[in-house]
Amino acid sequence: MARRTFSIGGVHPHDSKISRECPIVPLAIPATVYISVAQHIGAPAVPVVAPGDKVKVGQVIAEPGGFVSAFIHSSVSGTVKSVGPRKDLAGNPQTCIEIAVEGDEWLEGIDRSDALVTDIPEDGKAIVEKIRLGGIVGLGGATFPTHVKLSPPPGSKCERVIINGCECEPYLTSDYRTLLEKGEQVVVGAALLQKAMGGVPCTIAIEENKPEAIAHIREIIGRLGYADMEVMVMKMRYPQGGEKQLIDAVMHRQVGSGALPISVGAVVQNVATALAVYEAVQKNKPLIDNSVTVTGECLPTQANFLVRVGTPLSAILEAVGGVPESAAKIISGGPMMGRAVANIEAATVKGTGALLLLTEKQTRRAPESQCIRCGKCADACPMGLEPFLLNRLAKAGDLEALEENAVHDCIECGCCLYSCPAHIALLDNIRPAKGAVLGAIRARAAAAKAAAEAAKK
């Protein structure tokens, strides 16, 4: 049978999953954690603790600052030292709650046993509420609050839950290890999401380079006997794990420009998110840790760690023997979409999935030459955009034309840059232009809203 994949664009980089045999091991709790209040898309959370307060693991330390926002829980037990700005990995100040660790005392009511709880609650709404209280956000990278995604706007209906186990980014293996080691929990999490959306069918999408995970999850589904749940084997292609790409691949439906996945009846959640959902709903454990792949050819050992949220990156790097001489760049995330780390004292956030160390040779950029209009970037773009054109418009600063050419649909996957034979920094130029256009669209919407309100009066 032909393997499924999305219909337009995409590239196929070498998968380099050199850490695939490394089991997820819990990282030692650091002496101090710095928990950011802006770990999700949307409004930052509002701190509810003050310096000097004693906190336990799982205790709420910041409350949502709006509808699209999330609870933040303490990932350690200890004393709050300060609440104030601290530089994140891009060097920009973010409000962080600094907690000095004392022991490892968990909040009562959190079930820390390994026993698998397979009974699904009857009430879907209660599941969503527990997810909200658990502070769960999308762990595939976008960190969009999960409860918002599970509350479809009136008029739209979910028809299928897709669990994203593609992990199409090279080097990353934390989702793969999660599928292998916590497969049962992920499947129960998927069933919970199914229930939350009203008992719709569920597809767990896994790329074909993970045959062990595919067999393992199939076996678990058979064993646990949840209805309407299947594993779909995907052809290897980047960016398959992109939400819109995965919906196209699984359901053969295209999400329109500017529309949400729910408009075509899909809800996509990452494997790690499904696990977090399981832990929050069945075990009362909020999202306080996540698995982080630490990898790179220049490292003597590869690793997958279970890291408490707020752990300084330097502490993780120390656990693999420090940053080797030959490493030129540390990337948070995968090589395609990850961001270079400018500050290794920055702390992890819920969405931190990997630390990738690359050598000078691996990160060197070839000199840029002229565009020869070969169209490779347009072929590679999974959103059907024309990166060469957007690049030129971005340089000219023509926001109107950029909007006409749907620059705001760019998912910043980097396929254009990867495929360009002239090594033109396409995405680099498109990214700020996208930001400017999105800003203009938002400003227009706000102005329209204000005008409508003024007209009402």
């Binding site: 891009a90 060097g91 920009n92 270079a340 400018a342 060197r364 680099d428 990214r431 930001g435």
Partner: protein, 320 residues
């Protein structure tokens, strides 16, 4: 043979005449009435088409100027008052005079003063760099050094100084069109009045962090200590968001702030003499001493006059 030649000439001529008539009639029928003054105004413009006035080129400026009832808010920064006088004469309006302006760079984070904390090897553009992260120094507000402003300047007035890694404005070429102000993602370039004989003072820093953090990041930064604000006798300086700003409309160019600034963040341009900081500091000290004595004397006098009303003393203090 000659028949063919004659016929060709006749047919082409008749065709030409008919088409000319059609064109004439069409031109007559669909003529667009345009104010002839638009052309005149456009001719009076510098023709740089830089967009510094806020309109898309000189033609658009001319259309706007002709269509308006006054020249309020319409100003060509490149041509300056001279051009605006010409435009006003053509349109029979009143001239709106504006003090000539110049672009100033509000960052003095030289390579020496502001050590690099990481290395940027991405695409060389400030806009791109700013979209990725806070920059390669400890200061997340200062110049990124990729020269977007230099590229934006259509008059060649900006250049990067390789020694400092900062842009330098060539005053003789700068027309204050504002292209660089728009191009800088960190908003460190400001248009300021040129000042008498080009003399002006400004704070060369935009860092909004608190003092200790700023000090760590850059030796030349404004640490918001507020000494300049206290020293200034013209109330021209205000510290807002942890950074001082000198109001050019109030500044009397006494240079006292420059003398007292502990980090040298206040920059003076085009003054004929170098500043004798110690002398100015001495002067300020004496003045403050005198003011203190006067206040004390006044307070004492007030106390002697009417011990129940300490108001004049408080007033004197305020004045000080």
């Amino acid at each position: 043979m000659s028949d063919i030649l004659i016929w060709t000439v006749v047919v082409i001529t008749v065709l030409g005449l008919v088409l000319a008539l059609v064109l004439y009639l069409v031109a007559k029928r669909f003529r667009v009435e345009e104010d002839p003054r638009i052309d005149e105004v456009e001719k009076a413009m510098p023709g740089a088409n830089c967009g510094g006035c806020g309109f898309a080129g000189c033609r658009a400026f001319a259309e706007k100027a002709v269509g308006s009832t006054s020249l309020d808010g319409i100003f060509c920064p490149v041509g300056g008052n001279e051009t605006m006088a010409k435009v006003a004469a053509i349109l029979g309006m009143e001239v709106v005079e504006k003090a000539p302006q110049v672009a100033v760079v509000r960052c003095n984070g030289t390579c020496e003063a502001r050590p690099r904390v990481n290395e940027y090897d991405g695409y060389s553009s400030c806009k791109v760099k700013a979209a990725l992260y806070s920059g390669d120094t400890g200061c997340s507000y200062g110049c990124l050094g990729c020269g977007d402003c230099v590229e934006a300047c259509s008059f060649g007035a900006l250049s990067m100084d390789p020694a400092t890694g900062l842009p330098v404005v060539d005053e003789s070429k700068c027309t204050a069109c504002g292209s660089c102000v728009k191009a800088c993602p960190k908003h460190i370039i400001e248009l300021r009045p040129k000042g008498p004989r080009g003399m002006r003072l400004w704070v060369e820093c935009v860092n909004k962090d608190r003092g200790p953090a700023v000090k760590k990041a850059c030796a030349n930064a404004c640490i918001a200590c507020g000494i300049c604000e206290k020293t200034c006798t013209h109330a021209a300086i205000a510290v807002k968001d942890n950074v001082a700003w000198i109001d050019p409309a109030l500044c009397k160019l006494c240079r006292e702030c420059e003398a007292v600034c502990p980090t040298g963040a206040i920059h003076a341009a085009n003054f004929p003499k170098a500043l004798d900081k110690e002398a100015v500091k001495e002067r300020i000290k004496i003045r403050q001493q005198k003011a203190k004595e006067a206040a004390a004397a006044q307070a004492a006098a007030a106390k002697a006059d009417a011990p129940a009303q300490p108001a004049p003393a408080a007033k004197a203090k305020e004045e000080e």
